[in-house]
Symmetry: D3
Subunit: 134 residues, 6 copies
């Protein structure tokens, strides 16, 4: 059992808001993050794949393939986007760092072979991050 991790990143705008709550409750609960005009972050993403090494190649996974999956499935989907307005995933779902991590994990889980475990670490800022392993 060994793990490899690839770092990537995307820049996006978002707003925290629960459409089932009143505007007043959203503002009280989410504070500045509820700004109706959005704010944004440089999201830094660590994708970790774990499993058994392939003895012939000495690779767990081909980092180039992993990197390509992250680029086509995550970066191209979320980079330079407004998460609330521009993405299917967060039209209904509140784009907290926790929910973004879960969404990313679910997308990648479909693309990473089942024999591997998958973990996600998502930095919303250099000072706070979320981890999710399914």
């Amino acid at each position: 059992m060994i793990s490899v991790t690839r770092k990537s990143h995307f820049n996006a705008a978002h707003r925290l808001n629960n459409p089932k709550w009143s505007d007043k409750k959203n503002e009280e609960f989410f504070g500045l993050c509820n700004n109706e005009n959005y704010h944004g972050h440089n999201y830094e993403l660590d994708v970790t794949v774990s499993g058994e090494i392939d003895e012939e190649s000495g690779y767990l996974v081909d980092m180039k393939e992993l990197s390509d999956i992250i680029e086509s499935e995550i970066e191209s989907r979320f980079d330079h986007k407004n998460l609330n307005l521009d993405t299917e995933e967060f039209r209904e779902l509140n784009p907290t760092a926790e929910n973004i991590a879960i969404v990313i994990w679910n997308i990648l889980r479909e693309k990473i072979p089942k024999k591997f475990q998958l973990s996600i670490k998502l930095y919303e800022t250099p000072r706070n991050f979320v981890e999710y392993s399914g």
Copy 2:
């Protein structure tokens, strides 16, 4: 002549757009950064003040005072804001990293005693930054 630098940060949404250009030209020139729904960044800001040390205190400036100025003048103005919509400074001015750095420098220049030189370093992402010294 000695310099002290204080790091701070704010998270904001923005969109690059020149209102005097056609939509087509803006889209071609600014690419993804022109997204009409905005994207965002964690801006990391280094403020550098230079001058002569005060021999009595051993300080160039009181870092707490410098930190308070940055918080009240820059962080509270730009943090968790949409630069294009929520701020006076960028209602007309295109919020490129270059223009944000110049705006920040001009704001701080008013608040930092004239006997000191002032320089700004603004990271738009961990991979690119702007420097401005007036």
Copy 3:
């Protein structure tokens, strides 16, 4: 099961010394860290809370609340202090990085709801750190 981590920091002096040992043994065992006049560190602290996401808010915990707990319970207690002289916790206990991590974990464990797991990562320098999960 998801985890969120918040980074914080405090600057403190300390000295490694076991009062039950002779001065000679303390000096031989702890070397430079035994300096009777103290030395110090910028302690960087990662606090990780794990549990089930709150579906309504999309938060695991409110980062602002977590941040406030860390500030009032840890930073205000240890920042700009001499751990050996100024704190109850290390009057008898040797302030190794390991013991500081355990003390911090015990303090925070009282303040973080029991339904959450708690982990601590404490950097004594950028080159060595301790992890503790109870």
Copy 4:
């Protein structure tokens, strides 16, 4: 149960190549990493030791001793070396980051007391790393 981690580093050249494969297959599979003239990396290594704290000293392990083991067993062996040509370990074994991590773990496992668990984190670049715990 507590963990301490020590960071260290070594700079080395390597080439990814499976001698049982044809040159063509190696080139196709490993791409630029197969360059017959080698390329290189600054490997950054985190060594994590876990176990029970020694109540008398307040240490899990003496960081100086751990640091000396890493220097004598890993840095002196691999630093400023060509992994394929200059080291016994990779004369037959393909020096992928995964295999280097496993080799380092096996070397250190012999030198770290059995009562401790051992984990390795090896950065091949600032953007990708491998973790191995035996």
Copy 5:
């Protein structure tokens, strides 16, 4: 006058050696860096361009264009190469960090418009770097 900086990177093998010196002198002077089988580094490169902001776009330079120049002129030339064997630039010239920085500056100077000043910062390791401005 404003500056923008773009970070990039390449991984390469090299060996420090002055072909006009005896093997003995090279070994004594360059020590481990003279290893005839090469060692390597992750070179991290900051390219800084300075000049007058373009008032219409709000850019000093288009970061995408700058990034493309760095990729086509520097990364594709040096990444995953043996500097001594695979590159014209260092067939005769000793690939010290200083000389690599000067070579990179000279290459980029040809490609960056003359109205801009150009500076280079080249990290050979996270602990040492070279700066060159022509």
Copy 6:
């Protein structure tokens, strides 16, 4: 003209205090930093040497020699020390980051050949630093 920089570090305790001021004034002015029992920092030091490259070696200076000077002159003097109590330099002089940087520069200036320019960057914490060039 080219510059090379070497990073190093030392951990020390200190207290900010002007012995010519009253206790009350010191406490008001320096706040937490005036704690009579000291606090401490991991000081991270960048030493930059600038001048003309030696064409024969391709070095500006031998990094190993520079590193040895920093270790013998700065690290061994200040590491794991109480700056106020254990060092000649700060027995009378208030050990602000500014004064520490000036003292380090003056010590190194004596040891670095006169043909080179010398600059110092001293991080007191990861969030603030001082620069001094004489």
